[in-house]
């Protein structure tokens, strides 16, 4: 749930992005990168539908401050319906987060195309900006 901003809080964002959202020339970035006031762990997916609701929930349960799934624009999925599936899974996971007393805004889906690695970091930065208002994930330092 929403908390007062924590001074010095640098959100850890996990960015799960579909390979097809990148510019064809771009080398897919992977691993953790430092942004301005946040860090982003970039995870390459062959399609946004390759991620399941439980995996997004598990990432938040393990303490990431935010999860961002980056999918292709509507009707631009190479697997035809992959990005729609991803959208429904995000909605399902957000519903469960909310029932678990977690801010569902910690998980979001963005649609984008022809991204450079910098654009991806900018998207993560915007998500991090919203997460800053929520404060750190209350799951940090948990058992599971």
């Amino acid at each position: 749930m929403s908390k007062p901003p924590s001074p010095g809080f640098s959100p850890e964002i996990v960015v799960l992005y579909c390979r097809q959202t990148l510019d064809a020339e771009a080398k897919p970035p992977e691993g953790t990168r430092q942004g301005d006031g946040f860090s982003a762990r970039l995870v390459l997916l062959p399609c946004s539908s390759k991620i399941e609701a439980y995996q997004m929930l598990a990432i938040l349960d393990k303490g990431a401050d935010g999860v961002q799934l980056v999918a292709c624009p509507e009707k631009a999925c190479r697997f035809l319906v992959g990005n729609n599936r991803a959208e429904r899974r995000v909605a399902h996971a957000r519903g469960l987060l909310s029932q678990a007393g977690m801010a569902e805004a910690r998980l979001e889906l963005n649609r984008a195309a022809e991204l450079t690695p910098e654009d991806l970091m900018n998207l993560a930065g915007r998500h991090a900006g919203r997460i800053k208002d929520l404060g750190p994930n209350p799951m940090k330092g948990g058992t599971n």
Partner: protein, 223 residues
Amino acid sequence: MIVAEWKPLPELLAGLKGYKNLLLVGCATCVAECAAGGEREVNTLAPTLHMALKNQGQDINIITRTLERACEPEFVEELAEIAPQVDAIMSLSCGIGMQLIAERFLDKPLLPGVNTTSLAIREAPGLWTARCRACGDCVLGETFGLCPVARCAKSLMNGPCGGTRKNGRCEVDENTDCIWYLIVERAKARGELESLNQVRQPKTWSNSAHGGPKRIVREDLRS
């Protein structure tokens, strides 16, 4: 398949009060097919419960397992090693599997994670609809292969009730076909509408839930 669905989260959370180590068990057969208790659902419920309880100030360690078939003792036995490490077991298998687990681990509280609701088919992705209620006296031969017990809201044996909507849907639920409407349509298509004029006598329910707990004995198979 046997169909189940998650109990509401507040009910699950209330049942977990005070526990520190939970074994969350799924079943890879029917409840996996109906997306209630397979490995995927176990892996979805575990972080959901963990986060919800932690937000309520309760730290719980959740161990997950998914059995091939929770209604077979051989598979339930796979929990023997892990069970002593937990204070309770929550099962996402149907009521049958749950009882086998409870019977095998008598010293552990068994918490049902799902409500077992019906015998159903997956009609479309994300949609399961009832087909049978295990009534013990199958009448499909008289009703053109459509079950009035499970699929008529009133389980009428001599339908329809008079409430069928103009579009052939049931008066009780606009999203559900009136099964008697479909039975009549099938009878017509076969040219056997007359057969429905024959009044079906009161049904024998004693071969199912109304006859006491069911026992089937096959001497040739007993050891």
